[in-house]
């Protein structure tokens, strides 16, 4: 994707914007009440139901719009949680030395080695299956990745001469972090967090597909995919539509991340 440059960024913004727009609209307007089961079983697209209905007779477009909301909340929430935890842990590890650094690095590697889905199943087993549990699980898994990256970036910055200069001129560590470290690492972190957002959306869909995401009747795209699976031959739109939306959002997020990377200082070629 490298080289798409600003065109890629623009395309990404459009794709993400579409999903974001749908999610925002769903807050104020929906074609049908999501609990309305009067549509008839698996009505084909067209007519009163633009994309048809599901087995229970609920409007598919309505479900998809709510799904956009859930996907964005899950993705955004996970990135927020994973970002905050990850950056804090990464800063701590970045400043640590010797055995403490080794121990933190090993702990992060161990956490990364743990599959997100397995971690999510543990979280769901302890808590209930819910959007919150999904965000918690995905965010925790993500925080390890973010922390490792932050640690490496921090180490690299700390090795620079101007840090030594700042130290000798009497700057406190918090000040060094605020004035030297964070400004130097945020572009890379931002790109990474954008990429993580796409992964988080996919992870939430996987969890919902497995029945570990937000419980019904929440219309997560993963749940819609699962429900449509048995009827894929008779009512293919039910399976295709949430899949297409997932692709749109994830590709969009990746294009944005890519564009941001190209814009990042010191990265442009």
């Amino acid at each position: 994707m490298r080289g798409l440059g600003s065109k890629g960024l623009a395309a990404g913004c459009v794709l993400v914007g579409v999903v974001l727009g749908v999610a925002v609209v769903s807050l104020v307007w929906l074609p049908y009440d999501p609990a309305d089961t009067s549509g008839g079983r698996l009505v084909p697209p067209g007519g009163e139901h633009l994309l048809g209905t599901d087995k229970l007779g609920r409007d598919l477009l309505t479900q998809l719009m709510i799904g956009a909301r859930i996907a964005l909340v899950a993705g955004g929430g996970s990135v927020l949680l994973g970002g905050v935890l990850g950056v804090l842990a990464g800063l701590a590890a970045g400043f640590a030395t010797r055995w403490l650094d080794d121990a933190l690095a090993a702990a992060l590697d161990a956490l990364i080695a743990f599959p997100t889905l397995l971690l999510a199943m543990l979280v769901v087993a302890v808590r209930q299956a819910s959007l919150g549990s999904a965000v918690l699980a995905i965010g925790l898994a993500m925080s390890a990745v973010v922390a490792r990256l932050t640690r490496i970036l921090v180490k690299r910055v700390l090795a620079q001469d101007y840090i030594t200069a700042a130290r000798t001129s009497g700057s406190s560590w918090p000040r060094i972090i605020a004035e030297h470290v964070l400004p130097n690492i945020w572009p890379t972190l931002l790109v990474n967090l954008a990429l993580q957002l796409g992964l988080a959306v996919l992870a939430e869909a996987s969890l919902s597909y497995l029945g570990l995401g937000p419980p019904p009747p929440n219309a997560s795209w993963g749940r819609l995919l699962h429900e449509a699976q048995a009827t894929v031959l008779t009512a293919p739109v039910g399976a295709i539509a949430p899949g297409v939306l997932l692709v749109v959002l994830v590709v969009g997020v990746n294009l944005v991340a890519d564009g941001l990377r190209d814009l990042a200082p010191g990265r442009s070629r």
Binding site: D36, L42, P216, P217
Partner: protein, 499 residues
């Protein structure tokens, strides 16, 4: 991940009328094809291989009649016939049964069947730690003795008209084998070949079998966790038959295709919205009736099964002798439901948590129930749980308000006579009728009493019986001799022929 709850699902079965297990088969094309291995596709892998240790529906499907045999056998048509018991004598007071065992029967290990094995086998089902669903029905047995090698005497504390029927679920096992969860030692026509967990379980013909040899050269059960994958396996020829289709939409690819046969038999699997009858608000029959009337069962059935299956209105399926149509007792009527709620003191509705097993169709059904009950002011919080959680939280601890569950057994209305069952329905009259029915001298008397019990539980809306599943078997048209009423749990494989 387990489907259908193990403990309740256990012995399932059938009692179905209709076809026997040997529909007119295509003429055999020589010994070669008759000895072919049959590939069976199923969604129900055993949890373990012991039906008294939570093996679940899967082990019944795989082993019942194939690897293990009982003193009696329940045929695909629902008849009880003699198997390892050659004959029985009943004392005049109905309290002493003397069974003569078939001679020349050996276990797969080579040991000869003796009366001591039968005594052990009955006692392990009724033992303290047994998880068998038939356990409570065998409590009537006071003692089992083995006066000689081939005679077993069972003494009862009261008459039990269902004793022979209940014994058809008791596997006769080798008394010397302590752990049957990973191995087996039965007397059936097949012995266990290999079990690759999560994948396949193969059965090989047992050369020392006392009866007729299986019509095939062995069977392999292929386990799937997902119906689409299972159907694909049938299309690609990886399996020859699917024991139980769980989605009507998959049928479209098989109906009208000459390469496949679709058989719709009867099932005994009921989908229940089971209330915790001990706890408010569901301790009030009026509240339960209101909930039953607020849910449009016909629409739900159409949503899930698209024209297959049927409504029952109570616990008894049409294939049980004491069936009657009770769908009118708690009709779908939203206004009636509102009135009943108001009368019960819940005019403003209420809120409850619905514990919902995480496998299909429960989450979809829960969604429907939530949307229906919202119309009468009741808010449903759906709590999705695994089958294991269901067993510990709902079945064992009774820590629930209401739950969804499939109850697969036939003749299981009697559980409403047990106030200790997980749903906690406690009506002295019903308990009395169920007890008397068991002690009945004639089948007519038993039928009359259980009909009364069935009507009463419907009047009290002890649970909400949402619908009765269809039983749909799809097989390659080259296959014959498979059970069509296969009633979910048992699936006799010895008559199946290919070609």
């Amino acid at each position: 991940m387990t489907r259908k709850f193990a403990g309740v699902a256990v012995a399932l079965a059938l009692a179905l009328a209709a076809c026997g297990s040997d529909p007119a088969a295509a003429p055999q094309e020589g010994a070669g094809s008759g000895a072919a291995t049959i590939e069976i596709g199923s969604l129900y892998e055993p949890q373990n291989l012991d039906n008294t240790a939570g093996g679940g529906q899967g082990v019944t499907e795989t082993f019942n009649g194939n690897v293990y045999e009982g003193l009696y056998r329940l045929t695909d048509a629902g008849q009880v016939e003699n198997l390892l018991a050659e004959s029985e004598k009943v004392s005049d007071d109905g309290l002493t049964y003397t069974f003569e065992l078939r001679q020349g029967v050996t276990f797969h290990s080579g040991k000869a069947l003796t009366a001591a094995d039968v005594k052990h086998s009955i006692e392990r089902v009724s033992a303290e730690d047994s998880q068998s669903a038939r356990k409570s029905q065998l409590q009537v047995i006071k003692s089992v003795t083995a006066p000689d090698e081939h005679t077993v005497v069972v003494k009862l504390s009261s008459r039990s008209i269902s004793l022979l029927y209940n014994l058809s679920y008791v596997w006769i096992v080798n008394a010397d084998v302590k752990d049957l969860t990973t191995g087996e030692d039965g007397t059936g026509p097949y012995k266990l070949g290999s079990w690759k967990r999560g994948s396949t379980l193969s059965l090989e013909p047992f050369p020392g079998y006392w009866g007729p040899k299986p019509a095939n050269g062995g069977v392999v059960f292929h386990y799937f966790t997902e119906a689409t994958a299972l159907n694909n396996a049938l299309i690609t020829g990886a399996v020859d038959v699917v024991t139980s289709e769980q989605s009507p939409d998959a049928l479209a690819q098989f109906t009208g295709n000459p390469d496949y046969k679709v058989a719709e038999g009867h099932s005994t699997t009921k989908l229940l919205l089971a209330f915790n009858d001990r706890k408010a608000p569901f301790d009030k029959p009026l509240v339960r009736k209101a909930v039953s009337s607020a849910i449009d069962d016909a629409k739900l059935l159409e949503s899930i099964w698209a024209g297959h299956g049927s409504l029952i209105g109570s616990m008894v399926p049409p294939t049980d002798p004491w069936y009657e149509d009770l769908t009118k007792v708690n009709p779908y009527d939203v206004e009636l439901a509102k009135k009943q709620l108001a009368e019960a003191g819940y005019a403003g509705g209420f809120r409850f948590t619905l514990d919902t097993p995480n496998y299909d169709p429960h989450p979809t059904v829960a969604t429907f129930v939530k949307s229906e009950l919202a119309k009468v002011g009741i808010t449903v919080d759906i709590n999705v749980i695994t089958a294991d959680e269901w067993y510990s939280k709902v079945f064992k601890k009774r820590d629930f308000a209401a739950t969804l569950q499939e109850h697969v057994n036939d003749r299981d209305v009697v559980w409403y006579g047990n106030p200790d069952f997980y749903w906690g329905y406690d009506n002295k009259q019903v308990t009395g009728w169920v007890e008397q029915a068991e002690r009945a001298k004639t089948a007519e008397e038993q039928t009359e009493l259980l009909k009364k019990a069935n009507r009463q539980i419907a009047e009290d809306a002890a649970s909400d019986w949402l619908y009765l599943y269809p039983q749909i078997v799809v097989a390659s048209s080259k296959l014959s001799g498979y059970p069509v009423n296969g009633l979910n749990s048992q699936f006799y494989a010895y008559g199946i022929k290919k070609g």
